[in-house]
Subunit: 383 residues, 3 copies
Amino acid sequence: MKSKIKNKLVSKSIIFCLLFLFVASTTTYAVEESTAELFQYHRGQDVFFMFMLVAFLMLFIKKFEWGVCLVTLLTLSVAFPLYVIIQRNLFDFSLGIELIITGIFCAITLIIAAGVIFGHVKIWHFIPLGILFVPGYILNEWFLFSYLEGVADSGGSILVHMFAAYWGWGVILALQRRDVNQAEMNATTHSISFVWLASMLLWVLWPSFTTSLLPTDLIITGMTTTYLALMASTLTAFLVLKWIKGELDPLIYTYAILAGGVAIGSTVDLVGPGTAWLIGAAGGIISVLCFLYLDDWLANKTNLTDTMGVNNLHGIPGIFGGLMGIPFAGSVQIYAIAGGIIIPLVTGLIAGIIVKIFEKPQLLLDDAEIFDINIDLERTQQM
Amino acid sequence: MKSKIKNKLVSKSIIFCLLFLFVASTTTYAVEESTAELFQYHRGQDVFFMFMLVAFLMLFIKKFEWGVCLVTLLTLSVAFPLYVIIQRNLFDFSLGIELIITGIFCAITLIIAAGVIFGHVKIWHFIPLGILFVPGYILNEWFLFSYLEGVADSGGSILVHMFAAYWGWGVILALQRRDVNQAEMNATTHSISFVWLASMLLWVLWPSFTTSLLPTDLIITGMTTTYLALMASTLTAFLVLKWIKGELDPLIYTYAILAGGVAIGSTVDLVGPGTAWLIGAAGGIISVLCFLYLDDWLANKTNLTDTMGVNNLHGIPGIFGGLMGIPFAGSVQIYAIAGGIIIPLVTGLIAGIIVKIFEKPQLLLDDAEIFDINIDLERTQQM
Amino acid sequence: MKSKIKNKLVSKSIIFCLLFLFVASTTTYAVEESTAELFQYHRGQDVFFMFMLVAFLMLFIKKFEWGVCLVTLLTLSVAFPLYVIIQRNLFDFSLGIELIITGIFCAITLIIAAGVIFGHVKIWHFIPLGILFVPGYILNEWFLFSYLEGVADSGGSILVHMFAAYWGWGVILALQRRDVNQAEMNATTHSISFVWLASMLLWVLWPSFTTSLLPTDLIITGMTTTYLALMASTLTAFLVLKWIKGELDPLIYTYAILAGGVAIGSTVDLVGPGTAWLIGAAGGIISVLCFLYLDDWLANKTNLTDTMGVNNLHGIPGIFGGLMGIPFAGSVQIYAIAGGIIIPLVTGLIAGIIVKIFEKPQLLLDDAEIFDINIDLERTQQM
């Protein structure tokens, strides 16, 4: 009888333990799932916020402020729904928070690319450009994460930043419009203060971008590495600019502080805090050097203007960020980077060839192209 | 003996199952509850953010920028505490996150309504107006969600947007002040750039407004429908304005892009993504047509000025949004819309009659009414 | 036999109950922990957002807008990593969300302190100042929360606001540079509109600051008290300024509306809604009176300029907020306040003595000190 009771107690306690583990794990998992999704709502919304801020990062040309905002809104309203339609109908993705986030990633890549193209086309041309952009972007996404396996790029150095820069360059290489080289780009204190605002808020929201698709337990890690990389580029960009030039060009500095965020993209979840700082520091230095030297060299070589200097913040620092993933991902990372240059260049060239059929812009980088500017007291009183 | 054991095992397993379900459901529920509330903190805060952005949406009159900000702050600090006091003491609501959110809904309705009234009264009159506003708003809230049953309006097309427009119109109909028709409303590039910023960030935060009181499992749905509706109005507002006028009035466009968010308010949790896009698209078209045609017609008819054109963004698109709820809510929706016009008009008229006892403003839409403007270098050097 | 079954049932049900409580509590706890941390991500990020907004709160000097932004970025990229390194290596804190939040608290205290010091030093001097700041801040933090026990200061009235004001004053007392008294500080409408934007968004985000280190169940309470305190100061600052001066100085008003948030810092989790409103109301009145009277008195007494009037918003309202904690914390609160004046003054004096070895600034409060201002069309066409 005793042994029977004992047996029973043992079996009972085992059942209890199993039950407990089962209940605990299931419940925790279920909650984690729904909590994580709720939580992703805000990181996703932050990326929409960043999308809009990219417009203000490019707002320094006083007579072309509204135009930048307009293009930003138009590209979003074309590219996002098209991306969602293709992914749902052709590739069977369901319409949840993940698709919303990958969709805004697509749109943010397009608006960064637009920075290369401003002035090369008319404002409404960004609607066909947006339509042409999405299939190329989806091809690249498929190449990086479905065709290749094990690519390190959680924070989008290759997927977003490199694609943006080289798709934009593909378009302007096809268009071959040299008038932009002489376009007036006058700024004022306050147009540049909007750029400071945008840059500083993009800085703050950057971890939501790099961690938006990470598993829950890596989010704080990603926040730490992203902020440390940004702090490093903020410091090194200052030191290098001051050391080389003696004084700061506010437009170079407001852009280069973000290079740490671009550079940490591929390794945001893989490196420790010290390494993150070093990657960001190198990103800041590289970006400043690109703005100071590579930009002119490329403009002379191609006789074309990368209007917002996208290659200096997103292109080269993006490649550098991708390379930092090699110790973790191995040789596949090299294929990813190679594809991340070739695919956007080719699809950008095709898009450029197509939009070349439309008429050239007459007014370059000027709100008067499409807006009623008589509403502006100062503009109508000259200036 | 065997059957006994069997019996026992069966009963035990049933108890276990019940226990499991009970524990699982309770635990999940408890967690969901507290998680949802934590999560609501941020959606609530986003609505406060939107409240402040409404000020910047109305910042285009260069000599009346600070005044708009001041009125925004004053209305909030009067209306919110009064709303909370009334709801706690007269209607026994407890002071939690739900009451904070319904309170900021009340305040945001008031600041939208202020857009109709600017220039018709002095700045400090918005303090008594705020006090008079709250009881009317609470009456409307009670009519829609306690007196009527089953009204579809989770995202506030009727509760917020329609009430704002028609309460404001009630006030100016009572005041009958025609000087505003001639008031100067000069803008500059940068005052309009603030409007772009506000409009684009309101766009981003809009899902937090429409989903702030939705149950947890409908939040991602609401985010999807809201963003798609906004993308649609952003696109159609552009196309319609360009098609009719040839060029864009930046003030019409920055407002009309938000009409999709207004229009989706009643059906944010009820429609699929395609329908949401169509509702938003119609909202954008309707809003542009109101700005282009209805605005003048109404101004001629009444000889009064809706200073910020609130009827064109919130009034008519709000009614349209409310009508979209009919297939889901049935005839009760029609009573809701009727009440949503009559209640604000009548309570607004009463408020207007009361504040008419105060003196008329001398300086219209001018910071100099209340601010020391000598601090502004440019203003003192003329301009 | 019956009694045996009964016994068994009783014991079983007791075990069940215990099991249930255990599972429920454990599971809830586990989830709460991870949920709370996820949730802290966003409150932490909000504090980074506020950090950047402090720059725009000080952007009213048109020819010194970019400089303020630059100092803001430099102080962050120096102070935050240094704080994290010291806390990890000397005091064994682990690098998680708590350390990220206490780190940005340190940085935000420094940038507020910089408001006292602007113009007294060159821009790059803020790098050594940032390095000197961190040890003093950590000493104060240790004094308040490790040496003393039971200090009421969840929202940082003493830790952040008082320390910022008196450390800044320590530095300028050591430097004794009187040129700043004559420095030009011309504003324009739009430079002040940036201040409105910053102030109104700081207002909105303030609860994330005061609740960022609170336990989960006190967050909604803290949000309520913080918002009510801010509404109160927004109203009383208006009434007092209007009553005393007849018209509003926009720079005093945009600052004083935040005094409620400063004043509620020590009691954010301890008082009810009515008391919170009263504390905020008093904070607003005190801040306005400091701007109107104490500021001049102090400037005459010391012959030094508190450039951004930090003592009027953070210093005195911070002391007031600290005093409000006495009913809850008792006499330890008085030691905390005394230490919260002495420690920053002494460590600030030491920092000031050290940076005095560097050359004096030639251009005061002028972007031309370090920026290429030829990029600004208006500035080069005089202005």
